[in-house]
């Protein structure tokens, strides 16, 4: 009942999905609750997810389909996180 290597397909964008959930939760709850430390928390989440993906992309390898697609997805997810969540560094968070 093993699922040989399917995690490689989903790992990259799985981290992207995790980033989205953290951003949405911090921003949504933070604004509703009036948190002052929202931007540092968002920045920390951004950096943490980029580090995880960077590590993942560097470690993943393989010539088979699951491996090569996994590497591409990890790299694409890295770029997607950087682009999607970069506004957290500059834009107003609750207005």
């Amino acid at each position: 009942m093993k699922t040989p290597g399917f995690w490689r397909l989903t790992a990259g964008f799985g981290v992207w999905a995790s980033a989205l959930i953290w951003f949405y939760a911090i921003n949504g709850v933070g604004c509703a609750m009036g948190w002052d430390a929202q931007r540092p928390a968002l920045t920390l989440a951004l950096v943490a997810h980029l580090c995880i993906l960077g590590w993942l992309a560097a470690r993943m390898h393989g010539d088979d389909l699951l491996g090569s697609v996994g590497v591409w997805c990890a790299r694409a997810a890295f770029a997607a996180i950087a682009l999607t969540f970069a506004p957290a560094l500059a834009l107003s968070v609750c207005r």
């Binding site: 397909l9 964008f13 999905a17 389909l65 697609v69 591409w72 682009l83 207005r95």
Partner: protein, 854 residues
């Protein structure tokens, strides 16, 4: 192994059955086993070819209704101040037009295509759960008929296809229209979920030996990823529908802001489904394009792996951009930017596919047959729709165009371009497969140009109508706004578009009736090096698909179907015989495609029809307010499902079964990783998505939704009893498995598990009944009830599964080798315990969390 990748002739067929080596005798023997019979017995069919065609034909019939409704809309809007349709009727018409096109046409059509093609492309004789396919079909048909009949009866839903609250809440939609929508669509969604499980397991487990994942035809990748998206994407809407129906029927205020609810929660739940839905509709159609473009171009698809990566990216990104449908509800700048960028990013993986298709055409020698004509139509229309989509993803533009006819034009370019045109290309490509006939296509080209012209005349001006400020869903306009000419042009175009569609229907009927015989592989894909297994069979296909199953030695999209088909029809390959009257196909390892089990499938039965009919009675009883009858029907559904479970599997242990080529494999009942196991795993994935949506809803209402403060909320001490009882199941099922392995009595363990599950269900239910605060008083109390109710439901289902397992133990269906029932009970008990404890914990913790709006 021969050069065409097919196993050598099987010289020594094996097994206990009559061994039919003569192709004609083999054909007759297989037809006897796999056929459903004549007359009314056809309704008992569970075969994928029959059901795939039924899905597509029924979806096409609903599409015709949807087109007729669209014509009513265009007739109404052709001139200002038209009295053709009144506002109430107009609301019902546009609501059902959208609902039909999304739920009764697009989704079932893509499912039908996948059901029909997937086993054939993968070298299997059927899907993993044929009775589930049939149940899904009947649910779809009955759910759809409920919606259609509601229109004829004048009680159709009228709140728009996305049913926004509070417009769809009881005070503003007091009739039964909204209930019809919620129950009918949920019926159809259940059908879609069953098929998503079916397709996921079938693609991963039921392939020809040797067909590893990287040898699969690209269409299977598209369907696999679509099916997984359906598993995760549809549950939020099912949850939303259940919550809204509970609000309407029992006054639980999930979406009522005066009692702590929030209408925006509905929008979130709807679009968490609704946005991925667009890609769920597009991807199988794109899969058809990725299959037929190489056939038309005469060269293999360029960028196979890049396309798989693009599909994975699209699947994820499409779940992260639902908020762009809600840009005007008051979203902070940061969230606007995040969802705006995400929405634009999703164009990248889409573009990867478009460029791969263009490159394949550019590098090949395309022939301008009918399918390719529709491919070019797709390129033109879909790219325009994609670009206006990027425009709408930009928040400042979105604010201006939101809810105008610009949006209507945009999504018609996306959905007609991204689904209807590719499906018409697929229709012309695979019609010779279904009918066995090819056509001259002279009428087809006229039909294409009529439809293409009509579509663009309808929707291109509609962008301007929207930019001039015309809102969608208004039943008329005064006439001095500057919209009249554009609307008249759109209406004329609409009728031309409909005439084009009618011509296509005529063309298809003519081809089916008068076309010349096409034979095997009429597009000559084998000669062009792009053949797939679906063409390696006679056309129309025999009911069993393949007389023998092939061994795949290379890419399964570069075969020679004629050579392969000849070998398989002669029974040369795996399972080229009939044994014990069983419907047999092979199960393989997920990644490598190494054969690992003989999957014995259930034969034709009326059970799916009766179960769906009984479920329809339950739904109609709820609509009519006959709750006791609904309860009785629900009990009937449970009974029929238990009956179906009793008829599955084998009553005795079998030695390894010879399958040909000197290979012997165990039956699937004696393998832990059999299709039913994976079926439950993927069912729980969908269930987990529903549970995650419920957690999201609970936290959203408590932490973010504005509204009055909740009263003091406490839960009775029964929670401890429920928690303790929920843990009995995992322990008892492990005990039963250990006893089963040791050859000891399993009854006490199963009895303990059953008792624990019943106590848990009862304790959870009693918590709702004895709650200190009435769930109707405040949304937080209602959410507590929903969470605890989730625990009760899952404990109850666990009890039924343990009861069924006990009956099967007594019936001799369970042994040390055949332990699937116990494994399934353990998996469900584990899930029910974990989610039950989480639900209980969250229900208890909610009152401790700060309240957003208080």
């Amino acid at each position: 192994m021969s050069a065409d990748g097919i196993a050598a002739p099987m010289l020594d067929p094996v097994g206990t059955s009559p061994q039919a080596t003569d192709p004609i005798r083999l054909h007759k023997a297989l037809t006897r086993v796999w056929g459903a019979g004549p007359g009314l017995a056809r309704l008992s069919a569970v075969n994928h070819s029959t059901l795939g065609l039924r899905f597509m034909a029924t979806a096409a019939a609903f599409f015709a209704v949807g087109v007729a409704l669209a014509m009513l809309i265009r007739a109404q809007l052709a001139t200002p101040q038209s009295a053709f349709l009144g506002p109430e009727t107009y609301n019902q018409v546009f609501t059902l037009h959208g609902t039909i096109m999304m739920f009764l046409f697009a989704i079932p059509m893509l499912e039908g295509l996948a059901i029909y093609l997937i086993p054939k492309m993968l070298g299997a004789r059927d899907l993993a759960f044929p009775r589930l396919t049939a149940f899904g079909y009947w649910c779809f048909l009955f759910g759809g008929l409920i919606l259609i009949v509601s229109l004829l009866a004048g009680v159709a839903p009228e709140s728009g296809w996305f049913m926004y609250t509070p417009l769809s809440s009881r005070p503003y939609a007091p009739g039964m229209g909204a209930d019809v929508w919620l129950l009918g669509v949920t019926f159809v969604e259940i059908s879609a979920l069953t098929l998503a499980v079916e397709l996921t397991v079938s693609i991963l487990k039921l392939r020809a030996p040797g067909m590893s994942l990287d040898r699969m035809p690209i269409f299977a990748w598209y369907v696999l990823i679509t099916a997984v998206m359906m598993l995760v994407g549809f549950p939020p809407l099912i949850l939303g529908s259940v919550l809204l129906e509970l609000e309407r029927a029992l006054d639980l205020p999930f979406f009522n802001p005066t009692r702590g609810g929030d209408p925006l929660l509905w929008q979130h739940l709807f679009w968490m489904f609704g946005h991925p839905e667009v890609y769920i509709i597009f991807l199988p159609a794109a899969g058809a394009l990725s299959t037929l473009i190489p056939a038309m171009a005469g060269r293999p698809l360029i960028g196979y792996r890049a396309i798989v990566a693009a599909l994975v990216a699209m699947a994820f990104l499409s779940f992260g951009i639902w908020v762009h449908h809600m840009f005007t509800v008051g979203v902070p700048h940061l969230a606007l930017a995040v969802f705006s960028i995400g929405s634009a990013l999703v164009a990248v993986p889409t573009a990867i596919q478009v460029f791969a298709w263009l490159a394949t055409l550019a590098q090949g020698r395309p022939r301008l047959a009918m399918p390719l004509l529709y491919v070019f139509g797709f390129f033109a229309i879909f790219v325009i729709g994609g670009l206006t989509g990027v425009m709408l993803a930009m928040a400042p533009f979105n604010w201006q165009a939101h809810d105008t006819h610009f949006v209507v034009a945009h999504f018609h370019y996306v959905l007609v371009g991204g689904f209807v045109f590719p499906m018409l290309a697929a229709l012309y490509y695979w019609l010779p497969h279904v009918t066995g006939r090819v056509a001259v296509h002279s009428l087809g080209r006229t039909a294409f140009w009529t439809m293409f012209t009509g579509f663009n005349v309808t929707f291109l001006p509609m962008h301007l109508t929207g930019l001039l400020g015309m809102p969608r869903r208004v039943y008329t306009y005064v006439g001095h706004e500057g919209w009249t000419t554009l609307n008249t042009i759109s209406s004329i175009g609409g009728f031309v578009f409909a005439i084009g569609l009618a011509l296509i229907a005529v063309d298809v009927a003519l081809q089916a009736r008068f076309g010349r015989r096409g034979g095997v592989d009429p597009w000559e894909t084998g000669a062009r090096g792009v053949g797939t297994l679906d063409w390696a069979m006679p056309t129309p296909p025999p009911i069993y698909g393949f007389a023998a199953l092939p061994q795949i030695g290379g890419r399964a999209d570069r075969l020679d179907p004629r050579a392969v088909g000849r070998a398989l029809a002669a029974g040369r390959g795996y399972l080229g015989f009939v044994r014990n009257g069983w419907q047999e196909t092979l199960g393989v390892a997920m990644a490598t495609g190494a054969p690992e089990q003989v999957v014995i499938l259930p034969r034709a039965t009326f059970l799916p029809l009766w179960t769906a009919l009984t479920l329809a009675v339950a739904v109609l009883s709820v609509l009519g307010g006959a709750y006791w009858l609904a309860l009785a029907a629900a009990v009937g559904v449970v009974g029929l499902m238990l009956l179906a479970a009793q008829r599955a599997g084998l009553e005795v242990d079998h030695p390894l079964l010879p399958v040909g080529q000197g290979l012997s494999l165990p039956p699937h009942t004696q393998v832990d990783g059999s299709p039913p196991w994976w079926g439950l795993v993927f069912t729980l994935v969908a269930d987990g998505a529903l549970f995650a949506s419920l957690i999201f809803g609970a936290l959203y209402l408590r932490l973010i939704a504005p509204g009055p403060a909740a009263p003091e909320l406490g839960l009775p001490a029964l929670g401890w009893l429920a928690a303790a009882a929920a843990l009995v199941g995992p322990l008892a099922t492990r005990g039963a498995l250990a006893a089963n392995a040791a050859g000891q009595w399993r009854g006490p363990w199963l009895g303990a598990g059953l008792l624990g599950a019943l106590v848990a269900a009862g304790a959870f239910a009693a918590m709702i009944a004895t709650a200190e605060v009435d769930p109707r008083a405040h949304a937080t109390a209602a959410v507590q009830a929903a969470l605890v109710g989730y625990g009760a439901l899952h404990a109850g289902i666990g009890a039924l599964m343990l009861l069924s397992a006990g009956l099967r133990v007594r019936g001799g269906y369970v042994s040390a080798a055949r332990r699937l029932d116990l494994l399934l009970c353990r998996l469900w008990s584990d899930y029910a315990a974990v989610t039950g404890l989480l639900a209980l914990g969250l229900a208890l913790a909610l009152p401790l969390l700060p309240q957003g709006g208080a």
